[in-house]
């Protein structure tokens, strides 16, 4: 099963590929700015993601590997990233 989910729903150990950055439905300035910032930090379509760590409260924030670098993000921001999750090998 190869699911696409929001990165904010991912769990520790999940691996996948980013298929969409930003939600292209609502176009307020805040969402656009978030999209650009995510792109600048390496969250681009096609980048490989591996969720490594979760915070204590509400499993938030999350730390992940994006290609070959490590990045931390709140689940709130991770909601604007869509990921195709790959079955764990």
């Amino acid at each position: 099963m190869s699911d696409t989910i929001k990165l904010s729903q991912a769990r520790r150990g999940d691996c996948g590929v980013i298929v969409q950055v930003g939600d292209h439905c609502h176009h307020d300035e805040h969402a656009l700015e978030l999209e650009r910032r995510l792109l600048e930090l390496g969250f681009v379509e096609g980048a490989r993601i591996e969720l490594l760590h979760e915070g204590l409260l509400g499993r938030d924030p999350i730390a992940m590997k994006v290609d070959d670098m490590r990045v931390a993000l709140r689940r709130h921001e991770a909601a604007s990233l869509t990921v195709r999750v790959e079955p764990v090998a």
């Binding site: 950055v21 930003g22 656009l32 978030l34 999209e35 650009r36 910032r37 995510l38 792109l39 600048e40 930090l41 390496g42 681009v44 379509e45 096609g46 490594l52 760590h53 979760e54 915070g55 204590l56 409260l57 509400g58 938030d60 924030p61 730390a63 290609d67 070959d68 670098m69 490590r70 990045v71 931390a72 993000l73 709140r74 709130h76 921001e77």
Partner: protein, 623 residues
């Protein structure tokens, strides 16, 4: 070419954690000038280098960024400096893009953006030794051809490649062209995607993945970022840090106090009695002393912070604390500034610069002075010794220690509460994103740590000194003039302006149980909190209160009720009794408004807390 050339200007640009500052230190050594950019509170670090042929170059260390599309004041400076838009700042002749050779993807995208600016550029592939150790193969010729930019490999911490870099910059400066802003425009999302794809293509063409990738970082992270274990380690680290700040610093602080005391006695012996002696000894020397005495604590604190930062831990601490502090509306990165504020709010407020968003930064600055700084400790110690019995409660805890702990907790809890309220009142709903790179762990470089420590110390002394010196003179004047009349029986301060103010203000403070002697002590106490101890000694005519704290404590216990003593403690948890901090807040926020907001809310809370404490204690029979 013109022989009497002006020195070329070089700007270092790069991602955060690319070793840019280490390279800057390697290039310029200790020849650094730190100031602020005109009109903004972003630190401007400039240094000079002498090239092989005897010319000089000035090097500017610009704040780290992922993009020229600026998000924070720091990044705006980088953008404007690169584009030559900065007021009073000539555009750089050469841009040196600094890259972590083991982490190229994002910086390649930044370089593509920088190329659009159209200035001569050199790429410094830093941390090249780590790349080699990992077996990472970079096809330098191909990369150079793809980017169209000369490349130099460097190891800043070992000063390797620095000379090559200087000559490459020299060569690039030779091609000085009449550059304009070039074709740079803030990219939209599509442009960013395009550049990211281009960077990815170059990456694939020129870089072969490491044969021995860094697994250490992952292994350390699985311990340090463990949801429970990680927090326990963080708390342990903080505990050790506090122990160090307070116990290691004590001998140095005693030394500084003794030294300045001796200096005061020496100066008093050679200057004729009277106003000049009083100004120099009571005003200037004790004024300088009240700042200088905190230097050991601040140095130890910064040593820890710089070490943890260079090791790569601070981003992890922000990760661990983000949700916990987020509940109160604080950003994870506010953790470091608030931590510094336990030593002194001044470096804390200055450290708030690491926070990107203006709102989060302001919130952090506004609550930083609520953290129990070490200047409160002498006041707390005195009042606790006077009013709280030294007894054991619940079989194991010392009551005095418990009260001290309670005062610390009150500071932390009120800081959380105030930031919660600020979020609700001033910027409802707006949540700034928390996203940051977790850099690979690195062994801190001793030289770089020492250079940074020295820099921090210098900045603290300059900023605090510039503000506190004139204020100390003012406070001295208020508590010295006018002189007591002939045959006066009361201490001289009773007849001074401070005394008059104290008596005039007494009705305001009567409801919270303060007598006029206490109000007088609050006035010089505005210079720095711990000065209130000396001032109380003066009004109650206890000679040398700093060494005879026990005598002063006994006097106070006889003169004040328990309720008054507790109210005084409550007052000191909140009151903005430190003009130097207020001055730094004014500078850092670049606004009088926020400084006055701070004064108003802190005095308001102090009055309220003292009032409630006093009334409650009186009601319970402590009056």
């Amino acid at each position: 070419m013109d022989v009497a050339v002006r020195s070329a200007r070089v700007a270092l640009v790069g991602n955060p954690n690319s070793g840019k500052t280490a390279l800057f230190n390697a290039l310029t050594g200790a020849h650094q000038k730190v100031a602020n950019y005109a009109g903004v509170t972003v630190e401007r670090k400039e240094g000079l280098i002498r090239t092989g042929d005897g010319r000089t170059m000035s090097v500017l260390d610009l704040p780290g960024t992922y993009s020229l599309r600026a998000r924070s004041p720091d990044e705006e400076v980088t953008r404007d400096a690169v584009l030559g838009r900065l007021a009073g700042e000539a555009p750089p002749d050469v841009i040196v893009a600094v890259a972590d050779a083991t982490n190229l993807r994002l910086v390649l995208r930044l370089i593509l953006e920088l190329k659009a600016v159209g200035r001569p550029m050199v790429l410094a592939l830093n941390m090249y030794d780590i790349a080699q150790r990992q077996g990472l193969r970079i096809d330098l010729e191909r990369l150079q051809a793809e980017l169209g930019v000369p490349i130099v490999t460097t190891v800043a911490t070992r000063k390797r490649g620095v000379e090559d870099l200087v000559s490459a910059v020299n060569a690039a400066a030779g091609h000085l062209s009449a550059t304009s802003e070039g074709g740079w425009m803030a990219p939209d999302a599509e442009a960013l995607r395009g550049k990211a794809r281009e960077a990815e293509r170059i990456m694939k063409a020129c870089v072969r993945p490491p044969e021995r990738p860094d697994t250490l970082t992952g292994r350390i992270d699985s311990v340090l970022l463990h949801p429970v274990g990680g927090l326990l380690i963080l708390m342990t680290l903080l505990f050790v840090m506090f122990q160090a700040v307070f116990s290691w610093a004590t001998p140095f602080m005693d030394g500084i106090e003794a030294g300045l005391g001796a200096l005061g006695v020496g100066v008093a012996a050679v200057t004729p009695d009277g106003i000049w002696e009083s100004l120099i000894v009571d005003g200037l020397i004790s004024g300088v002393g009240s700042v200088l005495v905190f230097l050991p604590q601040i140095l130890i604190l910064f040593l820890f912070i710089i070490l943890l930062e260079d090791f790569g831990y601070m981003a992890r601490a922000a990760f661990l604390m983000d949700r916990i502090m987020g509940g109160a509306g604080l950003h994870g990165r506010a953790f470091i500034p608030l931590l510094s504020s336990f030593a002194c709010a001044i470096p804390g407020v200055m450290a708030a610069r690491v926070i990107d968003s203006k709102r989060d930064r302001l919130t952090t600055i506004m609550v930083a002075p609520l953290m129990t700084c070490s200047a409160r400790i002498p006041v707390y110690t005195l009042i606790i010794a006077a009013f709280i019995p030294n007894q054991t409660v619940w079989g194991f805890a010392n009551l005095q220690g418990l009260v001290m702990f309670g005062l610390y907790a009150a500071g932390i809890l009120s800081a959380l509460a105030v930031s919660f309220v600020i979020r609700r009142i001033f910027w409802r709903g707006a949540v700034e994103p928390f996203m940051m790179e977790l850099p690979a762990y690195k062994t801190p470089d001793l030289r770089s740590v020492l250079v940074n420590l020295w820099l921090r110390a210098r900045i603290f002394l300059e900023r605090a000194g510039r503000i506190i010196l004139p204020l100390m003179v003012l406070v001295w004047a208020l508590s010295t003039f006018p002189y007591p009349p002939e045959g006066a029986t009361q201490p001289a301060i009773d007849y001074s302006f401070a005394g008059m103010m104290g008596k005039a203000l007494e009705p305001i403070f009567a409801p919270i149980g303060f007598n006029w002697q206490m109000v007088i002590a609050l006035i010089p106490g505005m210079a720095a909190r711990e000065v209130a101890v000396a001032a109380l000694g003066t009004v109650y005519a206890v000679a040398d209160p700093e060494t005879a704290t026990a005598v002063l404590a006994t006097t106070l216990a006889g003169q004040w009720s328990l309720a008054t003593g507790l109210a005084f403690l409550a007052w000191y948890v909140f009151a903005p009794q430190c003009v130097a901090t207020l001055g730094v807040v004014k500078r850092e926020t670049n606004s009088w408004k926020w400084m006055w907001v701070m004064v108003a809310y802190m005095f308001g809370l102090a009055y309220l807390a003292a009032f409630l404490t006093y009334r409650a204690a009186v009601a319970l029979g402590g009056g």
